[in-house]
């Protein structure tokens, strides 16, 4: 710990750059994850025929270790931030997609049908009825995906994406524990904070829809 703090003191600019790069990659990847999971999740929940195939594919991707996805992608996309983001999205999107399908399917069909019978459109029903009711489940998925992205981004340093992982990598190779810990502890702290924040949102969402 003291070594980590000492490093942060002496290399403030480097540290802040790594931190910002890390957060940027996470934010971009998370946006892409949501953009992928939202339409696929809706289709998977609404078209009975797509539900099982989508669940199977995401289940399979989930089994593949993150590091393997990075290694497979390097020959195809080369090094840098873009391939890192692609790999991160692939490895982190499954929980979000699964929860989108499960969450939307958990809304009672009779409720959705009442909405339709009253002349609510599909989009209106989605926004006003289905999303609020599915929110706790959606946030469950978002929580796992977010934490997975933050952790995965530290590995992304190996493919030259930048971020807190670079501190871990260089700290390890130069045997400088302070540098390594500065990277690792900061990433862990961000993950824990994000996890706690989304968990709190989930509790709030749940209170709204159950007694």
């Amino acid at each position: 710990m003291p070594e980590a703090l000492a490093y942060i003191e002496s290399h403030r600019e480097q540290y802040v750059d790594a931190l910002l790069a890390h957060l940027t990659i996470d934010a971009i990847s998370l946006l892409i994850c949501v953009a992928v999971a939202a339409p696929l999740g809706y289709l998977g929940a609404k078209c009975g025929r797509l539900t099982l195939p989508l669940q199977n594919v995401t289940g399979m991707i989930r089994i593949i270790p993150g590091i393997a996805i990075f290694l497979v992608l390097i020959p195809i996309t080369g090094l840098g931030q873009t391939p890192a983001i692609i790999a991160l999205v692939i490895m982190s999107v499954p929980p979000l997609l699964m929860s989108a399908i499960a969450g939307l399917r958990s809304v009672a069909p009779s409720v959705v049908e009442s909405a339709a019978a009253m002349g609510m459109g599909r989009l209106q029903t989605l926004i006003e009825v289905e999303l609020p009711l599915a929110l706790p489940t959606l946030l469950d998925g978002l929580r796992i995906t977010t934490v997975s992205l933050i952790a995965g981004t530290t590995i992304a340093a190996y493919v030259g994406a930048g971020g807190l992982g670079t501190l871990i990598v260089s700290g390890l190779s130069q045997n400088k524990q302070g540098v390594m810990l500065a990277g690792a502890l900061t990433a862990a702290a961000i993950a824990i904070a994000a996890d706690a924040f989304i968990a709190a949102m989930r509790r709030r969402a749940l209170r709204k829809i159950s007694a």
Binding site: S110, V111, E113, S114, A117, G119, G121, V129, I209, S210
Partner: protein, 329 residues
Amino acid sequence: MAKTAIEFIHVHKTFPGSGVEAAKDVNLRIEEGSIVTVLGTSGSGKTTLLKLINRIYDCTQGRVEYFGKDVATLPVVALRRQIGYVIQQSGLFPHWTVERNIATLPHILKWDKGRIDKRVDELMALVRLDPECRMRSVRKLSGGQQQRVGLARALAVNPSVILMDEPFGAIDAITREELQDELLALQTRLKITIVFVTHSIREALKLGHKIVVMDKGEIRQADTAYNILLKPANEFVRRFVSSDDFYEALRALRVSECMDDLGRAGGDPRSSAPKIDRDATMGDALQTLIRSGQSRLMVIDAEGGPVGELTFDSYRGVAARSEKDCGTA
């Protein structure tokens, strides 16, 4: 003759996936301002019949007309906003308060707040909901109260027709009777057209001006309670309603259906015979008759004018039929 609100004309409905024929050559006229109950066992096609009206399903063949217009040619959203829909309590939006649920359509139609507030007040009074529960979540209400909210929600923008799919199915017997009575009173006041699905014979007979008996997608008989009970069109209907006994029949039949009509000369308003309302049930009439110690009742209309008379003979038809049932049972 009253206007036709809804008419099924040679309607067939086959579900693509299963190939089940849920409606087979259905022909049915529903008069404006009447209650039609649809009675049948589970899977007989009752719900399908309802959903063909507000186009949750579309006919495979034939057509459904709404005030003379084929529903397939009407804009679906506009059609649905004129047709209230009430199902078992799960149809309410569980994340909203009572007020927000009732105001669903006014909100969609972007009424201003003052107008919505006023309408919610009216509706809550109409369906006899305690004003205290206005801001409560609908999840915290009893089943009976939830159904009141469902009815208020369906009534919000003065629909011309309300479709009800086993709305009281999950409710205890006492509350159920209460809700039925209130629905009848409300319908008499608002003169709204109601299509009411139920698998309870008693409920169908009690509520329906016309009762539609369904079986495997076909209408076996569509008639008054009197005719369904006393002149069943076929063996199926006879067996179906005979699961109820004489006392059930007395609850279902109206005095006006069983009385002897008075000729022009016959009615003397000053007659000493005890009076009974033409809309009373035969059960109530029997009590009045027995208590009075007399042999006949004078049947009067809403204005108090004599329209017929009722004697013990009037009960003979009802009893004869139920004795036959006991014999064959």
